[in-house]
């Protein structure tokens, strides 16, 4: 860090830059804010100076007519326009850079829900609540969606922010520069504990991260780091593990087999994203919404060939339990399918040039 810039950063209370994006926008930030301060102070001071210098000297004093010259008019329009457009061009370039994740970025799925952040690493990778582990100096792309209302994923140290919207995916990416712990905040108002929807990004050295990922994949569930955050339910093990516990405790597996055999209810194996034909002949995709709905209101959409015998679990399943169950069902895949990374989103880096 060079001296004056660091001083300016401290004066402006900006956190230390923690990603490759941060210095880019910080430079523009300094430029814009300095010009803003100079311009507004000049205007203010000029007004006060005129106030005293040209104060009324005698009653009904006559005043000259001041007329703008062409040069003045050009300056009045040209100077602001020049600065504004300059900032726009610079800002838009950075923004396009920020919205174009590199091809080699590592993907992490992010799910926001009232009032916690969930992270999963795709495939058979670990899941985590509240804490996102990433390697330093490697690009990471976040594919984000929400379970309930709009949230917004904000890491002040990285200068990144992206709304997280139910029913669709949004993406953002970053490349952390230093190992450390950085706070995640939700910035889109989402209800009572919006102000507590915090999380943490843990940036590790790349080798350390690889080691961590390996450990996570190799079982030893007890040592997994699913920290629940301050307010999250205290899980031990991954969310899938937890879902399994819930399934056992609630007696789901008495009717739903896990091995593909139809029983009283449809099997859970490969159920996720399967196209089911309902009694009335219509079809439905067994996505998160359908699965969750079926726990709450099981008789609304009965799969063809099954009897409407399942009781409602409304009030008997807490929201995190239902979510864990869905995650558990999602994890039940036949080996052939398992090789395919779970892709809920259309997986395609966005290059502006590809669009019209």
């Amino acid at each position: 860090m060079n001296g004056p810039e660091d001083l300016l950063r401290r004066l402006l209370w900006l956190p230390e830059p923690g990603s490759t994006f941060a210095p880019r926008i910080d430079h523009l930030h300094y430029f814009v804010i300095t010009v803003t301060m100079i311009a507004s102070l000049l205007t203010g001071i000029l007004a006060v100076v005129f106030l005293f210098k040209y104060r009324e000297k005698r009653k009904n004093q006559s005043t000259p007519i001041v007329i703008p010259s062409v040069r003045f008019e050009i300056a009045v329009i040209g100077i602001p326009l020049f600065f504004f457009l300059l900032w726009f061009v610079q800002g838009y370039q950075d923004y396009v850079w920020y919205t174009t994740p590199p091809e080699n970025a590592m993907d992490v799925y992010v799910m926001g829900k009232k009032w916690m952040w969930k992270f999963s690493y795709g495939g058979d990778g670990p899941n985590a609540i509240g804490t996102l582990h990433v390697p330093a100096n490697r690009p990471v792309r976040l594919l984000m969606t929400s379970r309930d209302v709009i949230h917004s994923f904000f890491v002040p140290d990285f200068r990144i922010k992206q709304d997280v919207i139910p029913g669709r995916y949004t993406e953002t990416w970053f490349q952390a520069t230093k190992p450390g712990r950085y706070q995640i905040l939700c910035t889109q108002y989402c209800g009572t504990w919006h102000s507590q929807m915090w999380g943490e990004v843990v940036v590790m050295d790349a080798p350390e991260f690889d080691q961590w990922l390996l450990e996570q994949r190799q079982g030893d569930h007890a040592s997994r780091v699913d920290s629940g955050g301050d307010d999250g339910p205290a899980f031990h093990g991954s969310i899938v593990e937890y879902g399994k516990q819930v399934a056992m405790a609630q007696g789901c597996v008495k009717c739903h087999s896990l091995d593909g055999e139809p029983h009283i209810g449809p099997t859970w194996l490969d159920l996720y994203n399967k196209k089911e034909t309902l009694e009335d002949g219509s079809t439905v995709i067994a996505d998160e919404a359908y699965l969750t709905d079926s726990m709450i209101d099981p008789r609304a959409k009965i799969v063809k060939g099954f009897k409407p015998v399942m009781p409602t679990y409304k009030g008997r399943l807490a929201a995190p339990d239902a979510a864990a169950l869905v995650e558990f069902i999602k994890s039940l895949r036949t080996p052939g399918l398992e090789a395919v990374p779970s892709k809920e989103a259309i997986y395609e880096p966005v290059k502006p040039a590809q669009h019209r």
């Binding site: 009904n60 009045v76 457009l85 900032w87 920020y98 992206q162 102000s195």
Partner: protein, 548 residues
Amino acid sequence: MSQSSQLSTDSPSPPAVNYLNADRGVWSWLTTIDHKRIGVMYLVSVLIAFLLGGIFAMALRLELLTPGPTIMGANTYNRMFTLHGVVMIFLFMIPAIPGVFGNFMLPLMLGAKDVAFPKLNLLSLYLYWTGATLALAGMIMGGTDTGWTLYAPYSTTTPTTVFPIVLGIFILGFSSILTGLNFIVTIHTLRAPGMGWMRLQLFVWGIYATSIIQVLATPVIGLTVMLVGIEKVGHFGFFDPSRGGDPVLFQHFFWFYSHPAVYIMVLPSMAVVSDAISAYTRKNIFGYKAIAYSSLGIAFVGFFAWGHHMFVSGQSVYDNGAFAVVSMLVGVFTAIKVFNWVATLYKGAIVISAPMIYICGFLFFVVFGGMTGIAVATVSLDVHWHDTYFVIAHFHFIMVGAVIMAFLIALHYWFPKMFGKMYHEGWAMVSAALIVLGFNATFIPQFLMGNAGMPRRYYIYPERFQSLNVASTAGASLLAFGFVIILIYLIYALVRGQPATDNPWGSRGYEWMTTSPPPKHNFHEPVVITQDSHSYQEPGEEVEHVVI
């Protein structure tokens, strides 16, 4: 200061019969179709709304003194910031200047006896009261916690009472439309003989531009809030993602109104300053046409800029770019106005008075607030600042720094005309200084908070933001103190103030041609305009011309 003492010497006795005492009794006020009385009733109503919103604001600032819970629970806090926003925006800001001073002054400035549709004008006031009552009923029924932005799907799924408040906003929208419609028609049809378009006072131009936005943008918010209400009650799925609805579409709808709505608030403020600055400097306004046309320019371009509220909402990258460029144009129009105001001060004969202190403050706030607006419209910077306190500070610089300053300028400038009494200039200057200082102390720390990353609408916040929050709360107390002083000396002036002359400021505004307070039908004799507005030369007087 010097003004009021001078004036007492040559003050004639105020007219015996004026609009205030021509008819007596509460009923004569409630059924009046006199634009001046309607303006006064608006003044009382918006001041009550301002008081209410101000109390909410102070409660919020007190809550934020400490990082954890301080004086209220999370749910109370969430309801309170929603109500602060709804009350301040829909009940105070939007009707404030057009409703009060537009109603009162516009016909006077045109040399007309009333607005074009006086009954419609009264209806608009009643609709305002109905909407306000509904919104207040919503608060009493438990309030809503969606924020004034009412973002779906939160607003359609929250357990709180949304419906009365959205219905209230819908009805307030109607009130706003009728006011705007009335003003446009009035300006087109009721100009006195000799009053060409280029002789309109700049306040009239500002109100004209505002009215266009009111008429054309407000129906969209009406539809939007009704869709939210229907969705909340009837589950129609219009904005509900689980039924295929698009919550981002809600944001498009919402900001299509709510961005131009910012100009519904700001344009009248700029209009007030354009008028007052000319009066207090005893000088022709610099660049009349530029100021008039830039108002229309802002009104027009303001319709194309709504998407800059959605840079991180998942909106298309291209749309973001387009909306960003358009937002820069609004900045240019504002810059033109600012240059013109400062140039008007140059070589003037400035009366140092409370309104001039507000005007100096206003100039600083508009430039700083406006340019931080340009900063947040710079797409990449907005990624960091969006929904943080930086944005809060930015729009309070415009909403409080510009709109409330202008409201106070207007209140002081036109107080003698409206009520026929003079206020105490010394106390006015003290409170003006307090307010300008208190304002800076409140909101400059919030810019820094935003830089540090404190999100808006946070009940609990990380401890590192506490010092800035304490500073901001301290500033807010100063601000509140200033407002209390104003309230006291204005009430004192109403009761015991010196009688005002017809034109205590020596202004050349047409509204000063009648008595203070004006008679029931505005003018004693038919008005013929023979002079350009804002012209401080006597006919035939030779004055110096300066080119800059």
